[in-house]
């Protein structure tokens, strides 16, 4: 028996005279083919079966001696050890702000193999690139945001990795998925399937997904190998924080308009006997509005009503009061829509970041914020995940969706450790509107989830 294995566009081709588990016969190539995900299993199977084989699958990038000086905290060290013991595979669950990046850095230094780090946003690309450059004193490759540079240590967005998995999949020994809860979505899971990297690390603060797809993670990356919740860290490694909720009323005029618009929406639902309870019901309704003019009018009216509630003049006034109240605190203001970002930026002359902001300007603004030249930033959803903004001690949410994860991630932003500092999260909500429901949904889900229950509430 003999076998020769190759990498081919996200798959492993096996030429030889034997069938191998997890592979399918491909008549077009006259060979067995398997997802690159199974590369490690295939090699182990060949070894165990004493098959004479040639392995031409991995073409690892020539790599300099990777050594960093990072000193891990105790819990970080434990996490790394758990991962190594699990066969250099698996997922580490730690709260935002606890230094997950450093665990990956130490893993790269330990394995000394070319590594690709997959991250969800361009901000995170930037942040990882900065940390890795520092730690390894080497040029770091980047895929995403128009850049395509391949290096022994490379950072890529999920989008770019998805598009290029077929060509990059055999160049790295270790693949690190930051915010790994993104990975199981229908598209992104291809990244894990099309990379042959035998060593895999997943990092996240929120392992569970509402749609249950996290059940696929053990297959794609490996199981959960280490988990630590917020209360284990708060006070010691993270700053404590408190949560404050401010209710504002719509102005009379806004209220009148809001109600008449919202009525168009509810009237339509009553007339057609439609109930909307879940996000799925809502998606169905949106799809319906493509065919049905009346449904579309109802949808537009609802959107306009929400717009009034989210962008209420009173909210801006409340924001002004909060900002005047704490005139020294570095603060990030979050909104759901760009429109509101621009209104706030123009009213108070505050630096803003949206998805339209060019990469270098975004970096400039964040640098200025970090170094204290700007005290305030207003942003839409772009800063949602993991971006390291160390000196933010106050966050204000002006509007948001009802998603649990988004809420925690935003919360996490202000959890950066700072001596003797209590961080603060302020949510400004409009009373008596549909937005109230969104806000209480967040709270309810959060209470259900013990691991993120704040210590100081």
């Amino acid at each position: 028996m003999y076998a020769k294995i190759f990498y081919d566009k996200g798959t492993i081709l096996i030429k030889g005279d034997l069938a191998i588990p997890s592979s399918n016969w491909d008549p077009r190539s006259g060979a067995y083919r398997a997802m690159a995900l199974f590369y490690r299993d295939i090699v182990e199977y060949l070894k165990r079966s004493n098959v004479n084989y040639v392995d031409e699958a991995l073409e690892l990038l020539p790599t300099p001696y990777l050594q960093c000086k990072v000193k891990l905290k105790n819990f970080q060290h434990d996490a790394l050890k758990a991962w190594l013991d699990a066969g250099k595979r698996g997922i580490i669950v730690l709260p935002t702000g606890s230094g997950k990046t450093m665990i990956a850095v130490a893993a790269i230094s330990e394995l000394k193999t070319p590594t690709i780090v997959i991250v969800p946003t361009l901000d995170l690309v930037e942040q990882w690139q900065r940390v890795l450059t520092n730690e390894f004193n080497a040029e770091i490759g980047v895929f995403g945001g128009g850049e395509n540079v391949l290096q022994p240590i490379t950072v890529s967005t999920y989008d770019s990795a998805y598009l290029r998995a077929g060509e990059l999949g055999n160049r790295f020994g270790l693949i690190v998925f930051d915010e790994v809860h993104h990975l199981p979505s229908a598209g992104f899971r291809h990244i894990a399937e099309m990379f042959a990297s035998p060593y895999r690390m997943g990092l996240t603060a929120t392992y569970e997904r509402q749609d249950g797809l996290h059940n696929d993670l053990p297959r794609l990356v490996g199981g959960k190998v280490y988990e630590l919740s917020v209360q284990h860290l708060a006070g010691r490694h993270l700053s404590e924080y408190e949560l404050e909720k401010l209710y504002v009323d719509l102005t009379l005029e806004e209220k009148k308009e809001y109600e008449s618009l919202y009525k168009i929406f509810t009237d339509y639902l009553v007339k057609r006997n439609i109930t909307i309870r879940t996000p799925r019901d809502f998606t169905k309704f949106i799809m319906r509005s493509g065919r049905d003019q009346a449904a579309r009018r109802a949808l537009l009216a609802r959107n306009k009503a929400m717009d009034i509630a989210l962008n209420s003049q009173m909210k801006l006034d409340a924001l002004e009061n909060v900002l005047l109240d704490q005139p020294m605190e570095p603060t990030i203001i979050f909104t759901q829509h760009n429109k509101l970002v621009h209104r706030i930026a123009q009213r108070f002359l505050i630096p803003y970041i949206t998805y339209m902001t060019p990469k270098d300007e975004r970096k400039e603004i964040l640098d200025n914020f970090r170094e204290g030249r700007y005290r305030l930033i207003v942003t839409s959803k772009v800063l949602d995940e993991g971006v390291d903004v160390p000196d933010a001690t106050q966050a204000i949410i002006l509007s948001g969706t009802g998603s649990t994860r988004e809420f925690i991630q935003r919360l996490g932003r202000i959890l950066r450790k700072r001596e003797g500092k209590k961080a603060k999260l302020i949510e400004i909500v409009t009373r008596n509107t549909a937005e109230m429901k969104m806000s209480s949904r967040r709270k309810r889900t959060r209470r259900d989830d013990a691991s993120v229950e704040p210590t100081n509430y």
Binding site: R28, R33, G166, T283, L324, P351, Y374
Partner: protein, 516 residues
């Protein structure tokens, strides 16, 4: 390609199809209106452009049609920020000044900040304020708009709509009869995989990707969509695609069927781009030109139909065809010895006997001396001489083979005048072979004049008629011979021992004279 929320489809009984915007009266009117609006907006702001387009959504068309058309029109636009100073520089200066204050909560403070910063940037406070937000999307100014014909816009829209639906495709089967090189090249470039079946002169290509072996995946949808234009540009095509539709929790697999018979007028036509397609390199174009000018009797085809080798195909650059023989020519630009060897090996598997590889000497990436056989090396242009020699040799071999076959055939002639070309067709052989055969075994009672056989009696009949002509003008004689049904009058004149006397270059002034 459009954002997926602008895709409009209808599905029925397991089939799905985009809802197209046919180039009918109402859609052309809509397209015309939209194009005009964009044209009128040159010099104005993007935000107001879109505000002015909103009422179109009330016209009874699906709003997604209007937004889709506008999305395509926006690709013909260039927007720019108009400001006195670079907006980013203005913001940087203002934000740093702002940071000196707890909060800019009053208009008064705002004004003071502009007044402080403006002089440092050498603008007025008002100019500073206007520059500050001038690169926001809504504030951009439409600088240029490249107009487009309404019907062309609708056709591009329909193509984009189909491509957007194909984003969700898991596999694509296309049937085409031309444009192979472009199609296969694109398949390869996009990292897709294919298998091919041939029936008559149509090729059915089934396309998906390496991961498709393991699961239904939409991963290759975008690539399959990019494969669409070179298909719909051909004259005759059909396609079938499996499309994932419905919600994420209960996906369904639907079928998209389209073909040129029913959808041709919906898409950009062949002559818009396909017809104007150029040669890959000037080397190839030059070769085609000089070969055609030689009139060899061999028919030159650029990108002949694919040669099949198991599940793979190869499309040579040129084919030469004559009397059922085909010779292929592959022009190689950059190459290595390994590449050439592999290519020759592949050709061997194809069982193609006659193939010439022309490789550029100066572009070689390794030594080429060891390679023998059908490889021609060239420096600046593909040389005609070795190719002509190759074809000539094939001609001779063919004639020799056919002559042998004709030896045992009885050729009986009935007409007064018989063209060899007609005989060749009758016996399914080449004119050269017939001629050779007739030369060695001349048929009784006939004379061979050029490529024509003429009965002796007919010839003397013409001879007598020529003697009786009222004048000795060449043109009169030629007309007489042609009227008798002979296509080669000069050769007849020559055979009847006439000579032509030219008086200047004008044929009308030439006379004939019998040489006794």
């Amino acid at each position: 390609m459009l954002p997926s929320n602008l895709l409009i489809t209808r599905s029925r009984a397991g089939n799905i199809r985009p809802v197209y915007a046919p180039p009918d009266k109402s859609h052309v009117a809509l397209a015309t209106e939209l194009i005009q609006t964009f044209q009128e907006w040159v010099g104005k702001r993007k935000g107001t452009l879109y505000a002015s387009l909103e009422p179109f959504e009330e016209l009874g068309f699906d709003y997604r049609v209007i937004r889709g058309l506008c999305a395509l029109l926006e690709r013909n636009c260039s927007f720019e920020a108009q400001s006195y100073i670079e907006p980013r520089m203005a913001r940087r200066a203002v934000f740093r000044e702002v940071n000196k204050h707890p909060l800019v909560a009053t208009e008064e403070l705002k004004r003071r900040i502009f007044e402080t910063v403006a002089p440092t940037l050498e603008v007025s406070p008002k100019q500073l304020e206007e520059s500050l937000w001038s690169d926001l999307d809504d504030a951009l100014v439409l600088k240029e708009f490249a107009p487009i014909e309404p019907v062309e816009l609708l056709k591009r829209y329909n193509l984009s709509l189909t491509q957007t639906l194909l984003f969700k495709a898991v596999a694509l089967d296309v049937t085409v009869s031309e444009n192979f090189q472009q199609i296969f090249r694109r398949i390869k470039y996009l990292g897709l995989m294919y298998s091919v079946e041939k029936s008559a002169d149509m090729f059915t290509i089934s396309v998906d990707g390496p991961m498709s072996l393991f699961k239904l995946t939409e991963k290759y949808g975008t690539s399959l969509a990019k494969l669409l234009p070179p298909i719909t540009e051909t004259r005759q095509w059909s396609l079938k695609a499996k499309i994932v539709a419905g919600e994420r929790h209960s996906p369904r697999l639907l079928q998209l069927n389209l073909d040129s018979n029913t959808a041709k007028d919906l898409f950009p036509s062949a002559d818009s781009e396909y017809g104007k397609r150029v040669f890959d390199s000037s080397v190839e174009a030059g070769f085609a030109r000089s070969f055609t000018s030689l009139r060899t009797g061999w028919r030159l085809t650029r990108e002949p139909e694919p040669l099949m080798a198991g599940q793979a195909v190869m499309i040579p650059d040129f084919s030469f065809e004559k009397d059922g023989m085909t010779v292929y020519l592959e022009v190689v630009g950059f190459w290595t010895e390994e590449y050439l060897k592999k290519k020759l090996q592949k050709l061997k598997r194809l069982e193609v006997q006659h193939l010439i590889v022309a490789a550029n000497k100066s572009l070689s990436c390794s030594s080429f001396r060891e390679l023998k056989g059908q490889v021609i090396f060239y420096e600046k242009k593909v040389p005609l001489k070795p190719i002509m020699e190759y074809l000539k040799k094939m001609d001779e071999e063919l004639v020799a083979r056919q002559s042998v076959a004709l030896e045992h055939v009885e050729i009986t002639l009935q007409e007064d005048i018989v063209e060899m070309q007609d005989l060749a067709e009758q016996f399914h052989t080449s004119t050269e072979a017939i001629k050779k055969q007739l030369m060695t075994r001349p048929p009784k009672g006939y004379r061979i004049i050029g490529d024509v056989l003429i009965r002796e009696e007919k010839l003397s009949d013409i001879s007598v008629k020529l003697a009786k002509l009222s004048d000795d003008k060449l043109s009169t004689a030629l007309k007489l011979i042609e009227d008798e049904g002979v296509k080669a009058p000069y050769q007849i004149l020559q055979a009847l021992k006439f000579t032509v006397e030219w008086h200047g270059l004008d044929q009308d002034k030439a006379t004939i004279k019998r040489a006794y």
